[in-house]
Amino acid sequence: MYMKNRTKWGTGLAVAACLVLTGCSSTAVTPTPATPEPGATATPTPVPEPVHLKMAAWLLDSTPEFKTLTDAFHEANPYITIDLVEYKAGNDYDTQMIADLAAGSAPDLYILKNLRNFFTYQDGGQLMDVSDVAAEYGGNTKGLSNYQVDGKTYAIPYRQDSWYLFYDKDMFDKAGVAYPDGKWTWDDYAAAADKLQKAIGGGDVYGAYMHRWQSCVQGFANAQAPGADILSGNFDYMKPYYDRVLAMQDSGVQVSFNTSSTNSLTYQSQFGKQKAAMLIMGSWYVAAYLAQVGTGDADKFNWGIAPVPQLDSSTFDNPVTFGDPTAIGINPAIDSKKTDAAKKFLAFIAGQEAAIALAGIGITPAYFDDAVTSTYFALEGVPKDALSQFTFGTHDTKPENPVSSKTAKVQGILGDMHTAIMSESTSVDDAIAEAESRFANEVTD
């Protein structure tokens, strides 16, 4: 009897201990092994102490850019190792990041996905001042000014995306429609979609595909329409853009918003599996598409990129598009001994070496020069025609989000407006009026 009790107690304690330990497990990725430089060559400078930094990132398996950056940096600075910590992707990334920063458990470095939440991090004192790093970089690194507040820079961009018009050359050939020539207005785009639909559309194949995000319509309205400013509380300038999109939806040249949302369609599958001849999407899709061809998730076909349709011919020479930069910032709670190493990394990501590494996997870096462009277009699978090169190299990219305390709230209101309009539950005029009155009511400070 006595022995049995002891065994029960023992088992119970063991189970309890196991439960506690499983609850404590972290989700950190196993670190890349450090390779400290041996002091074999007789150099006067002593070997620096190895430094380990942690950086937050997402979807490590399918997003190679983070590892590319940290590996390239490690090769150049072997005594600094950066371990990647996987966070949730999508909108949840910022939620998780903010929670961890508030709890004091965030990594040393973290990625700023877009400008929408930059204000939150900067205003909340969660970004270290890196003006000294920014001072080294000037014209070639695009997007740096977006991270400046009161004359100080708080993050360094490594990537600057822009939206392009992706088109399937094989489908255009089959339909007998001329390729985009880089001088399209929105009316030209709608006309081409119409011709494509009549020639090869039917079943689940459409002339074009427009994804469900609010940025697919509003991003262009904000970048191209004269007098556009989401912080003004006046959204009339979006009306022509929504009218055009609804006309395309109603005429059947693209999948309706409702069908797309209830069936959770992905833009990668629509264009990649040749269910749409045209897709307006961000430059990140180039790398994703090439990776999917490799795994067989997308078909292999001839395709190209063209500048997005413009409002009118006045901007054909420097097409106006939009896109937010992606940056990395330093957590001010970082161990002071590691600050120098962290700043060294930020200096690296904005420079040519990192840009060439990123271009080599199809990412559009923030640093731009001819070497970067030629690396990008040397990549297998990237379309090499003259128009694609022009699209990549020449664009007037406006930031998707202005930096302000009101941005997150306004974008939330505009997101609700977008779903109300695109689902055709509310007329464009009514929805815009509702959004404007909500702005007046809710966006106070």
Partner: protein
Amino acid sequence: MSGVVAPWRASRAPRARRTLAGLTFILPNFIGFAVLTLWPVLVLFYMAFTKWNIFGGSEWVGLDNFARLVGDRSFHKALFNTLYYSALHIPLTLVASLGLALLLNTKLRGMAFFRTVAFFPYITSIVAVAVVWNMLFSPDVGFINQGLRAIGIADPPGWTTSTDWSMPAVIIVGTWREAGYYMLIFLAGLQTVPKELYEAALTDGANTWQRFVHVTLPCIRPTTFFVMVILTIQSLKVFDLVLVMTNGGPGQSTLVLSQFIYNKGFIDNEFGYGSSAAVVLFVIALGATIFQYLANRRTVEL
């Protein structure tokens, strides 16, 4: 031998020891509850009177947050949507779960299988439920609208893509999901109804409906009361189903209070303001529960 103990010792020591033993048993659970639930709720009541962006300290603003709620039209919409959801969801789920329980309260072979089937929606992943029901509700190609067109309804509703029909769609899925859970509770309650009462009613010439109203319903009153209270609170707090099915849309047609609180906190970064809305939700749920409690006591006393 040791049973002969002076009376005053027998009454005091064992009872104190029993109480202490009881408290020790619930202590592990209570510590978890106190640290992870009770303490944050108490902090919430403090936060509701502050302005806090989660980084650093909070700033006391008194009743400003509540004054802002009064004028906030999104809050009014969320409140209306929550009450709309509850007003339809509660009676529908009550009827469905009680109906299922009555149906499945027989001792036929295979009854365990049917009870499992009825309970299954409750334990399925909510994301899977949302994805599949969205496809079923798809206005052009979805199964439900195809069925409606087949029986002659030419213009079927847009369901989750229409501002008018999105809330009914969510209510349907919510009822489908939870009927099984409350069915189990009702099944347990139905076991307590004495069979002699049914036999007595039969000999008095009562038909099925009269037996149900005069024997079953009164006997399962405690179960019904419990189900009503829990169902009301869960309906007022509904969050995950709406979030994954419609994300508050289209527009704001399915924005419920819980999502309003979540948006204010995690998207707008206004934790103080979100907390004040949470306090309002708490007061509403508490008021509904107290009202039901009092109503139940009054009918029992009658």
